[in-house]
């Protein structure tokens, strides 16, 4: 369970997120809101990339400030631009990075890469140079580099923004079939329609939450007014 307890975030004197208290135990959670509404800051708090000015964030009762390493193990984060998330020249090397940081043995790393690649049908990408991948392939590798670390929760910042329809469907299918709890920030409302719970942020405040039909419909109505 992800828990926010009276969380506020300030940057350069400006309040980005104000007094947020929330418990999230749904399996598929979507986060919507206009640009600058605080939704990206909200998800960045979950694995401790961002720290609150006041209040606390916890994941399975582990606090992002006191239990940083443990939280990082449990929360996988997929950034908006996969280009900046793939940090090794070769796909296989990039997938190994997180596992090496967890001090897994060479044979365990190799086995896990092979298993993951086969499971998601990307064995042909393993020996490709990262900079030669297409946008969809890069996003796939960025997601797999997180999945391979087997986190309990996966947070994704606009995972389909840079993708064409075919790749978008591929990513959606992968996410739909995962067992982990998933939080997705997206402007793609169609993508979130099948989710269990939607959070809507505006001007640093959580102003609405609930079933997709209710929250998304209200969001569209407000945007058109």
């Amino acid at each position: 369970m992800i828990k926010f307890d009276s969380v506020s975030v300030k940057k350069e004197g400006r309040v980005i997120l104000r007094d947020l208290s929330l418990c999230l135990d749904q399996k598929r959670i979507g986060v919507i809101g206009h640009n600058g509404s605080g939704k990206s800051t909200f998800i960045r708090l979950i694995n401790g990339i961002e720290m609150p000015a006041t209040g606390q964030v916890s994941v399975n009762n582990l606090y992002t400030d006191k239990n940083r390493k443990e939280v990082l193990k449990r929360v996988g984060f997929v950034f908006q631009n996969p280009e900046n998330q793939i940090i090794y020249p070769m796909v296989r090397e990039d997938l190994a990075f997180g596992l090496k940081n967890r001090r897994l043995s060479k044979s365990e790393i190799s086995d896990r890469i092979q298993q993951t690649a086969e499971m998601f049908g990307v064995s042909d990408l393993l020996d490709r140079l990262s900079h030669t991948l297409s946008g969809g392939e890069k996003q796939l590798v960025a997601i797999l580099s997180i999945l391979i670390m087997d986190p309990d929760h996966i947070v994704l910042d606009e995972p389909t923004t840079l993708l064409d329809l075919q790749n978008k469907k591929k990513i959606m299918d992968i996410l739909d079939n995962l067992d982990q709890q998933i939080l997705v920030v997206s402007h793609d409302l169609e993508f979130l329609k099948s989710y269990d719970h939607i959070l809507r942020f505006e001007q640093g405040k959580l102003i609405d939450q609930g079933k997709p039909d209710d929250v998304i419909t209200k969001y569209i109505e407000d945007a058109l007014c």
Binding site: F79, Q85, I87, E93, F97, G98
Partner: protein
């Protein structure tokens, strides 16, 4: 050397450890500068070329390694020819070509991760005074992001061209630097998110 063009293979050359390869390169590089005989340098060149064939690297890829330095080699040759002699000009150019080809052969037959691991292992004894894992990660990042920075530069050039600006080094450099710095921030967050930990190099500075 930083082109990141590893060629898959199982040859003898692929199987040699990266530490041995790097050490050999250091020895060859140093040794080449003590050779003053054109015949011996030509022999070294022939040996290095034959190593490419032994390692299963096609001739086309071998020649591609010399292409970026070709203009420089021609300039060196001309300057040395007119200021010294044909023999010395040939000797110096062959010496540089040997160095470039030897260094490239290591890149072509060693995975970046193995190379970085080799460097990491070599630096291990210095771990108390040097953040070894950070050094090796820095090397990987350099290799990984050279093509990305090239692509950013091309995009900026095209954007300037589309707005009617002719090639101006400052007009290109400033946006490239800004975008690269922003990219560096995002990369560091991505590294953090994947549990990268090292023993602090200097606890006070690292806080």
């Amino acid at each position: 050397m930083l082109s990141g063009l590893y060629i898959e293979g199982t040859t003898f050359f692929h199987r040699i450890g990266p530490g041995k390869k790097i050490l050999s390169l250091v020895l060859i590089g140093t040794g080449l500068f003590f050779i003053r005989d054109l015949t011996i340098i030509a022999g070294c060149f022939a040996v290095i070329v034959s190593l490419y064939f032994t390692a299963g690297v096609p001739a086309k890829i071998m020649l591609r390694q010399l292409r970026p330095a070709a203009i420089l080699l021609v300039i060196i040759f001309i300057v040395q020819y007119f200021s010294n002699s044909l023999e010395l000009a040939t000797l110096i150019v062959l010496r540089f070509a040997c160095l470039i080809l030897a260094a490239s052969l290591i890149t072509l037959t060693t995975r970046t991760s193995d190379m970085v691991e080799g460097i990491e292992r070599g630096l291990k004894p210095l771990h108390k005074i040097l953040p070894v894992e950070r050094v090796s990660l820095t090397i990987s990042l350099c290799i990984r992001f050279i093509p990305t920075i090239q692509a950013i530069t091309e995009e900026v050039k095209e954007a300037q061209y589309a707005r009617g600006l002719s090639t101006n080094i400052f007009a290109i450099a400033v946006p490239v630097i800004i975008r690269t710095l922003k990219m560096a921030d995002e990369i560091s967050e991505a590294i953090y998110a994947r549990s990268f930990e090292t023993e602090p190099y200097h606890p006070d500075l690292d806080k």
